[in-house]
Amino acid sequence: MVQLSIMALFVALSQATWKRTKLVLLRDTVLYPALGFLGILLLWYGIASLRHELMPYPHEAVINNLDFITHPFYQGGAGDLGIGWLLLASLRRVLLGFLLGAVVAIPLGFLIGMYRPALLALNPIIQILKPVSPLAWLPIALAIFNLAEPSAIFVIFITSLWSTIINTALGVSSVSKDYLDVARVLEMPSWRQVYKIILPASLPYIFTGLRISLGIAWLVIVAVEMLTGGVGIGFFVWDEWSRLNLSSVFLAVFVIGITGLLLDVAIAQLEALITHRRTPKEG
């Protein structure tokens, strides 16, 4: 009897839930995230009211930043650029370093994944270098290049290597034997197996590596630019802090966060485009 009534309760509940699915969706995707943001704003108000000489209120921050927000691509001579330009400069460095890193890391990952002596030779090096903060490479890079720009790109390059190498090697070494058997029965030469079977089969792993690498690269560029100076969103953060202009620092934090999110979404989209749903070709 008890069980029966519990069952009935469940059925009733599930039916009710079914009717409210749309409301639930609205609640989960709009209401709760909005509450989260509201909480952060309240916290901000709270702290700002305690230390108002340092922290602007959120609405003050928006008003103070209005010039930046409405004129992102302002050009007022050397060193006086809108935040859009700074962002583009940082993105350029990250993408250059990241692409160079991918160009080196993906073939290296293939080598390690396919050829055991390469794994044995390179794995210890990778394991030692991977936990090193990429910023530690900055002095070395500066010593080599003597210039801020290539040094920043070099640090991003180093940053981008490890996750991509490790994930590519993992993907390559875990290609299903079934796929390789198909290739062998079809008498596919091994060099063709590499790009017709192993590469597409390990693309999801490679993209996981690239995604992690790009995420870390975007974290690191802000710190690198704080140290090297020049045009960039990281230096902007440091510069505005030196002027005790926290409103702009908050703006920068927001912009950096949104950009990082968009980078991640972009690479996920690229993966979906490349790995699975390519436009069907006429057979």
Binding site: V182, R184, V185, K196, P200, A201, H276, P280, G283
Partner: protein, 279 residues
């Protein structure tokens, strides 16, 4: 009915001297074990398959029947003995012995059509683009997959996936078809339908087929001879059963044939007997 349809292993050894299409002679397969010994999977296998013959390999799990098929495919090497196709020794995999895999082995990043096309591109290098395209379409149509040609493997059912596997295998026009429990992963209804389809195709274009199965009814319905293997380790051919029913076969008519049950019981008794030995 026909006389003595039940051959024993002895009569098999005394097969005619004329070379068969596929010949397996004194084949053994052993894996080295950790402690320096060896684990014998197959022991002294002798089998001949004729050019238009459909032969099933049946036995309990672990009896090495899949290993035997893989050796014929060239995906594994035998420890001793010889396998020849049309008199030439088999040493490595080749598209003249195309495989239909138990778990389909479709490439998930390619559509149904692209999966078949990949095989055609790889094997028939001299064909023109138009020839290849029509070959692909012809075989997709043969297994009724034209409507799903542009779908990806994860968008179609298991039965459809195996039809792609069969289309892929047939499209490259192999001399011999090797099927490793091709219907094993399918539900009963789909299995029956697909058996019918494959048999239709085979009856229209006969060729040598070697099929691994553990289903006696499937073997009786589809094949000309059933090779029954003893349990491993060191599995051997226990007995070869002739299935004398003429093609094209009709499953319903087969079920009403008393001889069908005679063969079926004989096969099941063989399997039961060899099951007891191990348990």
């Amino acid at each position: 009915m026909t006389k003595s349809t039940l051959q024993t292993a002895d009569t098999n050894d005394r097969q005619p001297e004329t070379a068969g299409f596929l010949e397996i002679k004194n084949l053994s397969k052993a894996y080295p074990t950790g402690n320096g010994g060896e684990f014998v999977v197959l022991h002294n296998i002798n089998l001949t398959v004729q050019e238009n013959e459909f032969v099933s390999l049946i036995g309990h799990s672990g009896c090495g029947k899949s290993t035997l098929l893989k050796i014929v495919a060239g995906l594994e090497r035998s420890t001793s003995g010889l396998v020849t196709l049309e008199g030439r020794e088999i040493r490595k995999p080749g598209s003249d012995r195309m495989m239909v895999f138990q778990h389909y082995s479709l490439l998930p990043w390619l559509t149904v059509r692209e999966n078949v096309r990949l095989a055609v591109d790889e094997v028939l290098k001299d064909a023109s683009r138009a020839e290849k395209a029509s070959l692909v379409n012809e075989h997709l149509a043969m297994v009724n997959l034209m409507p799903a040609a542009n779908k990806y493997p994860d968008e179609i059912s298991g039965g459809m996936k195996q039809r792609v596997g069969i289309a892929r295998a047939l499209a490259i026009r192999p001399k011999m078809l090797l099927m490793d429990e091709p219907f094993g992963a399918l539900d009963a209804l789909t299995r029956g339908k697909l058996q019918r389809q494959v048999l239709d195709i085979w009856e229209a274009h006969r060729q040598a087929v070697l099929m691994v199965t553990h289903d006696v009814d499937e073997a009786l319905y589809m094949s000309d001879r059933i090779v029954m293997m003893t349990n491993g380790p060191a599995a051997q051919i226990g007995e070869i059963l002739d299935v004398p029913f003429a093609h094209p076969r009709d499953r319903a008519a087969l079920r009403e044939n008393p001889h069908y049950y005679e063969l079926r019981n004989h096969a099941l008794n063989f399997l039961d007997q060899h099951f007891g030995a191990d348990d």
